[in-house]
Amino acid sequence: MDYSTLSIPQIRQLLLDKKATATEITQFFLDKIKLIDPQIKAFITITEKEALEKAAEIDKKIANNETIGKLAGSIMAVKDIFLTKDIETTASSQVLKGYIPQYSSTVYQKLLDQDAIIIGKTNTDPFAFGGSTENSGFFTTKNPWNLDMIPGGSSGGSAAATAANLCHFALGTDTGGSIRQPASLCGVSGLKPTYGLNSRFGITAMASSFDCPGVFARSVDDIATVTQITAGHDKNDATSTHQTIPDYSSLLDSVNLKGLKIGLPKEYFTQAINPEVKAKVLEAAKVLESKGAILKEVSLPSTNLGLAVYYILVPSEISANMSRYEGIRFGQTAPDGSNIISYYMNVRGQFMEPEVKRRIIIGTYALSSGYYDAYYTKAAKVRTLIKQEFESVLADVDVILAPVSPTSAWKIGEKCSNPLEMYLADAYTVCINVAGVPSLALPCGFNSNNLPIGFQLIGNFFEESKIMSIGHQYQQITDYHLQTPKI
């Protein structure tokens, strides 16, 4: 039996009906990963021992007629920036090679507590800095749809593992598109929740006022099931929400598509977008229109400012957050310097990847004396304008529908020498993070080279249940999310 195409509730039911054991399911995935992952390279670490131990624990519960968790038997892949107690966590950087965390991130722990099985840690750009996994301190992940192409990033390993059916769901983080863009380029679904919905505790910090942990799965239904577990306040993350978390799964049919007002922001459909991507995204809008939704052109005039705001504020926060990597308390160490300053400079100079250095330097520059007001304060003010535009448009329409990436996946190496060009590929995702609102990325077809294309549904703050309901209904009418690459 192919356990990899089943949904999370189906897997749990199999266990309850005693038609499969968690050990059999886990072994199936381990075998599949060993066969396929050498080509894709989605995983940095395969957690065979931990997976089989957890599976045995679940099987024992079933044998003893004990209650099993809501995610029992589901196989999860975890982006390697989530701290996993006793399991090496590298953040895909040489800086943390060999680092074994003494504690776990909240989101991961909540999923373990519901009997999800961790199968491995996935590749990313180092500390999530990038959009292709090419910046990883170890290797580049390949797109399962075409091994010459990038999977997107930074959560490219998690997206590729989900697309290749090497897990039921995967954890990622989205600071400027790092869930939605790889989901879109790999043809899977991915949710960037409202800032603060999921706890950031125990995840290597990139930009603390932007970082959003979230989940990849093939269907919106599975995303709803997992988000139900992960969402909510965490005493260890002061910015995590106190809002009551709705029952997402029971609300998947709650939105009535008839009369639903969908805004298409004209700034996201200019000549900058690839024509095939534009056509497929508009087709997705038409699908919803055919069910009674009303399409309306809207305007988010500051869209062209989003990248500049993002690439000032995020590196600024990065430069502060990255100061903890001093090669003393954890992580790799260097031979003694002549004094503490030269020690810091040596160890950081030796192990940080080029993109990590670039972003710290950009941020340090933007925050440095004489430039602080010109860059950081100015960008924080424009952030207010961008946020206000989203709030104003979302007062007029129920949801915004837009492309995720201006193009489909590009060739490995194509944009490596030009960081600015790589940054420009984030044009349609970063504004959502600048504003802080939730967005759900969904597959909506393929280009002429059989590479996936995705679109996003953007809601107002804490409207995850609304965008997931629309996404779920879209997936009842279409089957793009059920397509799998031939590997």
Binding site: Y99, Q102, R348, K381
Partner: protein, 99 residues
């Protein structure tokens, strides 16, 4: 906002503030890359933000406080467990004060 060119001296200064040692090769590669990124930021110059307050966090929740009680924390042994450079229950660092 100025679009002044980043000089090698500026890069050296910033790298020192950031505590990152850069090789000559890295400086050569980074200089034009950083310049083009920072030049790109000039797009914000055209925006009027006279009466706009900055946003530092997107969620309108006030500064959360917790009760001042002692909670769980790492034992000294656990806190020191991620490095080999320890002595007598302390982290060992290179000298910080000139003799």
């Amino acid at each position: 906002m100025s679009s002044s060119k980043i000089t090698l001296e500026t890069l050296d200064h910033i790298a020192k503030l950031a505590r990152i040692k850069l090789s000559d090769h890295e400086k050569e590669v980074f200089l034009p890359q950083l310049e083009s990124v920072i030049e790109y930021f000039d797009v914000l110059n055209s925006v009027n933000t006279d009466n706009v307050s900055p946003t530092f966090r997107v969620i309108e929740e006030s500064n959360p406080l917790r009760e001042d009680v002692i909670g769980e924390s790492f034992s000294q042994k656990l806190a020191l467990s991620s490095t080999k450079n320890t002595q007598d229950g302390y982290f060992v660092v290179t000298n910080t004060i000139k003799k």
